[in-house]
Amino acid sequence: MVNKVKAFIIYFWLTVFLIVVLFPFIWMIITSLKPIGTGLTLTIIPRPPTLSNYKSVLTQYKFGRYFVNSLIVASIGALGATVLCTMAAFAFAKLEFPLKRPLFGMFLSVLMVPGLMFVVPQFAIVYRLGWINTYKAMIIPHLANVFGMFLLVQYMKTIPDELVDAARVDGANNWTIFLKLIVPLSGAMIATVFLLTFQFHWNNFLWQLIVATDEHMYTVPVGLAMFRSAHEELHTLKMAASAISILPITMIFIFAQRYFIEGILRGAIKG
């Protein structure tokens, strides 16, 4: 009986917090179903509910195009960054080479510089290379992801050196060790880095805004900003577009969640 009461109290509070956490999302969906112009009304149930916002976001505005742009930039960007991070992290965690420590320190010190500082010089470089208005400009400057690398280095350091030595004794070269041993063991962490980079690209507003000079190259965050003009904001359209835009992130989260749990469990068994 006591257990049941305890469970009830726990579930009650969890439900309350769940509602609090989910409320902005629910409100977004509700607003996206309201007729145009009534985005600021305080009614819970849209009168009458309409899908016209979704329709005009996809047809009247080029939101489909922005979505595809974002998908291309975010997936290639995240994939590239994750591959580079994983390889670099392996080198820093498990290999010996000259100047390893000072190099690592230099990389980390980059984390201390606010990202905004890089915008103008990076833009100048991208412009000189003639990359303005291309996917290259959106992806390549962000391929180097120091934070992701740091995360992976710290994780790979926890993989016992004995495993690597054993593999080497069995005749494995660095590539084999990397692909057959390190990557499978760091799967959860690699998935995390992929997810974080994907999310970074998906939400990145400023950089995509300044390197795209043609509306066809705008990405989702830039497209969302177009629903706001000097004095007014098209709330219902913006919320419909936002609802569409969170789909990929949600899907990746649901998919990647398995990895997270797996990663935690594996650690638990090993003790």
Binding site: G37, T38, L40, L42, L206, L209, E215
Partner: protein, 393 residues
């Protein structure tokens, strides 16, 4: 044949080169009309125009980055407050539009003049008026066709309209400096004189005291300026606030959702019912190679014909005074009020960093509204801090 080729090598680069690059941040309807104007301009002059839409919210970073790397377009439409920053940093060319300058609404044009030079030409002009809910007026026993003419009358109305048991308030306001300027101006206070902020005058104290009293003493204002509160826009749309200050941009939406509302000039204080203006301007960037074409383009946009079209199709205030008599006040009855109010409007000073001034003033004004600081003391502090910013420039 050889001569033809020779001719073409001279002509082709010229044609290709004579393309004006323009960045604009219009909303959908404005952009549709703007496109029509651009097409008309291309047809009449043969100058090709490449228009690019950029989001209003990100325009500052985008334009500043473009300026820093010398990739700015020839022209762009920028906000009043941003023009000052660009002009002070020498990113803009001064513009000579000749006699046309006399036809542009003076307060709008003055908001683009720095050190005697014109750095932008207004393409869009807004000013603030008093919006009131006619249904709530009737319910409170007030004549919906007689909006308050003075601030004293306004207060009486607000008290009648307020019904706290139903959550209805007579007035709702914002706390930012720009939205407080109509109070200051109509009470007879000045904002900046000779590059010095003078918001500590007795008139300014009376104006801010009035705002504070609306909230604290008379309780006809719900605190709509607090963060997280139902803001004036939202409350007016939901018929919770009977009177708010707002601009012409809100008319269409209020009509769409069927609010029975009226628009009136700013109530008169000691000086009269003065308002503040806002809007956007076309600027020409220093790196342009087509100054002549760019000036022609601006002249076309602010010409009488273009402005008549602009005003009547969008229900906005024309920037060219010659277009005033042609404004269709039957289709856009509220525009009449705004055109009247413009005679009692005060230009914006061209400052290097207007947002920074808002940033220092707003929290201090909020402290006054919360009753944490006496009004006089708050304004002295604001003047001191704003002057420190102005001196830096």
């Amino acid at each position: 044949m050889r001569r033809f080729i020779a001719l073409m090598t001279v002509v082709i680069p010229f044609i290709v080169d004579a393309q004006l690059k323009v960045w604009v941040s219009y909303n959908d309807e404005e952009f549709a009309v703007f496109k029509q104007l651009v097409t008309a301009f291309e047809e009449s002059t043969g100058i090709e125009v490449n228009v690019q839409r950029i989001p209003f919210e990100g325009q500052e970073q985008k334009i500043l980055t473009a300026c820093a790397t010398r990739t700015a377009p020839d022209l762009a439409r920028v906000d009043c407050a941003f023009l000052g920053k660009l002009a002070h940093r020498h990113a803009l060319l001064d513009i000579d539009i000749g006699e046309l300058a006399d036809k542009i609404v003076p307060v709008a044009l003055q908001s683009c003049i720095l050190n005697g030079k014109l750095y932008g030409v207004p393409d869009q002009l807004t000013c603030v008026c008093l919006f009131y809910n006619k249904r709530l007026f009737r319910e409170a026993g007030l004549d919906p066709n007689k909006p308050p003419a003075t601030w004293a009358e306004f207060l009486k109305y607000a008290q009648k309209l307020t019904d706290r048991s139903k959550g209805i308030y007579g007035f709702a306001m914002r706390n930012t400096l720009w939205w407080t300027l109509p109070f200051f101006y109509s009470f007879g206070a000045n904002f900046i004189e000779d590059n010095t902020c003078v918001l500590n005058s007795p008139e300014a104290v009376a104006a801010l005291q009035f705002k504070v009293d609306l909230y604290r003493k008379y309780k006809v204002e719900p605190g709509a300026w607090k963060s997280g509160a139902i803001d004036p826009d939202m409350g007016f749309q939901n018929e919770k606030y009977a009177m708010v200050l707002n601009g012409p941009w809100k008319i269409k939406l209020l009509k769409t959702i069927g609010i029975d509302f009226g628009v009136a000039p700013i109530p008169a204080g000691k000086k009269g019912g003065y308002t503040t203006i806002g809007g956007t301007n076309f600027v020409i960037f220093r790196g342009t190679k087509h100054k002549h074409e760019a000036v022609e383009f601006i002249k076309f946009i602010v010409s009488k014909e273009s402005q008549i079209k602009w005003a009547n199709e969008l229900g906005q205030i024309p920037v060219n005074m010659e277009a005033f008599p042609y404004v269709d006040t039957i289709r856009h009855p509220y525009l009449k009020v705004f055109l009247y109010q413009l005679q009692y409007a005060i230009a914006r000073p061209v400052l290097a960093d207007y947002p920074a001034i808002e940033d220092v003033a707003n929290p201090i004004m909020e402290a006054a509204l919360m009753g944490e600081k006496p009004v006089k003391e708050a304004l002295e502090l604001i003047v001191y801090k704003i002057n420190a910013i102005l001196q830096e420039e």
